[in-house]
Amino acid sequence: MSSNHTFIGAVDIGTAKVTVLVGEYTGRELAIIGRGECPSHGVIKGSIADYKAASDCAHSALEQAERDAGERIDCVFLAQSGAHLEGFYNEAAVNVKAADNMIDRNDIRMVCDLAKAKELPAGRMVVHHIRRPFRVDGRLVPGSPENLVGQRLEVGYWTVHGQEQRLADTIHVIRGCNLEVRELVLSSLASGHMVTTPEERQNGVLAIDIGAGTTDFVLYRDGVPHTTGVVPIGGTHLTNDLSIGLRLTVGQAEKLKLRFGRALVKARDKADKVWLDGNYAIGDRQFPRLAIEQITAARSWELLEVVRKKLGHSFSPETCASGVVLTGGTAKLPALAECAAKVFDLPVHLGEAPGWVAENLREPGYHTALGLLYYGISAHVEGATPRRRGGFLRNVTRLFASS
């Protein structure tokens, strides 16, 4: 194998499962060559709660992915989620220094540095600085403003930050496998990048990734992420509600949710009942379908309402012309799109991976891992570009590794 090839592992440590995809990156092309999955343990609402259990799951998935790929992973792009992640917007403006008012690199650098210069509270760390488009004298500039003429240059950054300990815990899980974490990418950015098209992002689109423990969302405007957020509610909450409301075990509730759960109530007959197992065995019970649908619909509506509230003024149907895209494992809940359409008053559809993605990776559960690879490699976010692999010794080591 050529030494120019880099084998990147995209790791999504979710609440329900750990997903690992191995991508072979040649510098120009990326090919998915391996996949590994493992039921997750020790992760609650996207955060590591049991280091050893989470490590075992992650390492098992990594090993499985490497076996599947037949190559050793060089570095890892890690998805980050959890309620500890927050974001804020900060902007800055500078007067163009040149006498002819032509913007140069120094002006751009200065305004970017100013916009990013925001001191965080103790124990918080930046995960992403997401730049919004420049403005020159109030005029939106989609690309670089260099060599444009104007008097005032403005730019804003959406800064995502998280709790240091939580970030470190996730990184150390990967480091426990003696792998380097090359990029840390917000889950919503990864999945949103995968299920939305550039046109949708340009027109404005809201991507919601509803996982088991958390719901990550990203609102795109003008082709770039405008607002991101994480809601610590996911599919497991629907299961819990069913479990409490119908007095079932979590496993039984999960089974009912998957079989009869709906995001909008459809049943009208209270006498319409469904069997828990359907095999007429001892212990098999009947439950009213209406009750199941009412519980899951109420929780789904609430979940989407929370997302809308978190978006606040950033979201309005007028600035989100392309509607809402749903992804994640819970997005498969029947009628969730209709429910979301009512909540957001926008057209909603379930996110699909691009056509070139292999059939076995088109499930919503892989969108985050796929997006990790493509978003991590692309340079849409400052600092997301993979660092150049260098060092003579490292190359020599790779030589032996490939042999």
Partner: protein, 323 residues
């Protein structure tokens, strides 16, 4: 300028991991990486060692090269199958006293050695640091020829089997005296020497046969005349007793020598012995023999020999039956 507040990034989280925090898979990776690193270091070490060795070898070669700068001086070795010696070689090469092996031009030295004519092939070998060896194959002289250049005194030259005429050095004068003289040849200049003589192959064969098969006869041969070699294909030998023997250059020399020996023996066995003036062996089975005139008077007091028929001045034998 007021420094901007800097916020910490997730990249500031140290990614060093303690061995106890490694999982089994992590430890395996750690071991493999360590082994790779070790292999890499060993490779680099081997490469460095190899480079060092190459450098040392180059230095050694360089030092050897410095040795070549030493003057050759007397370190000239003549390796030959003939008589030439080191003194002749030094004289011929004419190397400057401070000449080194790197200064010499082997092709030029070879040409100098070959120019004498006595050397058929020569190879110049440089044995570092300072020895110059010349391997030579010499020509064997089979005859000699007297050459006079202008008004200078005549000089004796030797002729090899391939017709090359050369001055001849380091030969024992006694050996040179045993060589027959060549007569009836025309020397033509070629460069600083003479062009090779044509037909010497036949002459050399005759002389070699005579020397080998009829040494007593050969020892009496003084002059070999090639005057009629080209025109008639005949080689004429003149002995010290004045006998002229003509050989056919295209006939079997062994048979001719045998006939000559037989005739001379026959003439000697005659009573009284017949003094032969010439024998022509170039005519095949018919051998004309010319006898010398009988002595005018016997010595006083000597017993008169029985009357014998006087020999004719010239007669011939048909030797087909005798031989």
């Amino acid at each position: 300028m007021v420094p901007l507040p800097q916020s910490r990034s997730w990249r500031d989280i140290p990614q060093q991991v303690k061995p106890r925090a490694l999982s089994a898979e992590g430890r395996r990776r750690f071991t493999v990486r360590g082994l790779r690193l070790l292999c890499g270091l060993v490779t680099i070490g081997a490469a460095v060692w190899g480079a060092w060795e190459v450098r040392a070898a180059l230095e050694r070669d360089s030092k050897s090269g410095e040795g070549a700068a030493l003057p050759i001086g007397d370190h000239v070795v003549a390796v030959t199958n003939g008589v030439l010696d080191k003194a002749w070689l030094v004289r011929t090469l004419g190397l400057p006293r401070n000449a080194t092996l790197m200064d010499i031009d082997p092709a030029r030295l070879q040409a100098l050695v070959l120019a004498s004519g006595q050397v058929a092939t020569a190879a110049i070998v440089r044995n570092f640091p300072r020895e110059l060896a010349v391997h030579m194959a010499e020509r064997s002289p089979v005859a000699r020829v007297l050459v006079q250049k202008g008004t200078a005194a005549p000089q004796t030259y030797l002729v090899a089997t391939d017709g090359v005429v050369f001055a001849g050095s380091c030969y024992d004068p006694e050996m040179v005296k045993t060589l027959p003289w060549l007569d009836g040849v025309k020397l033509s200049r070629q460069g600083a020497g003479f062009a090779p003589l044509a037909g010497m192959a036949s002459v050399a064969e005759l002389l070699a046969q005579a020397k080998l098969e009829a040494a007593p006869l050969y020892q009496t041969w003084r002059v070999v005349s090639l005057a009629r070699l080209e025109s008639d294909g005949e080689i004429e030998i003149r002995t010290e007793a004045g006998l002229r023997v003509t050989f056919g250059a295209h006939d079997n020399f062994f048979a001719q020598l045998a006939r000559l020996d037989y005739l001379l023996d026959l003439a000697a066995r005659r009573d009284p012995p017949v003094a032969v003036r010439s024998i022509d062996l170039a005519l095949g089975a018919q051998v004309p023999v010319t006898a010398a005139a009988a002595p005018a008077a016997a010595a006083p007091g000597a017993r008169t020999a029985p009357a014998a028929p006087p020999l004719a001045p010239a007669f011939s034998f048909h030797l087909s039956r005798e031989l």
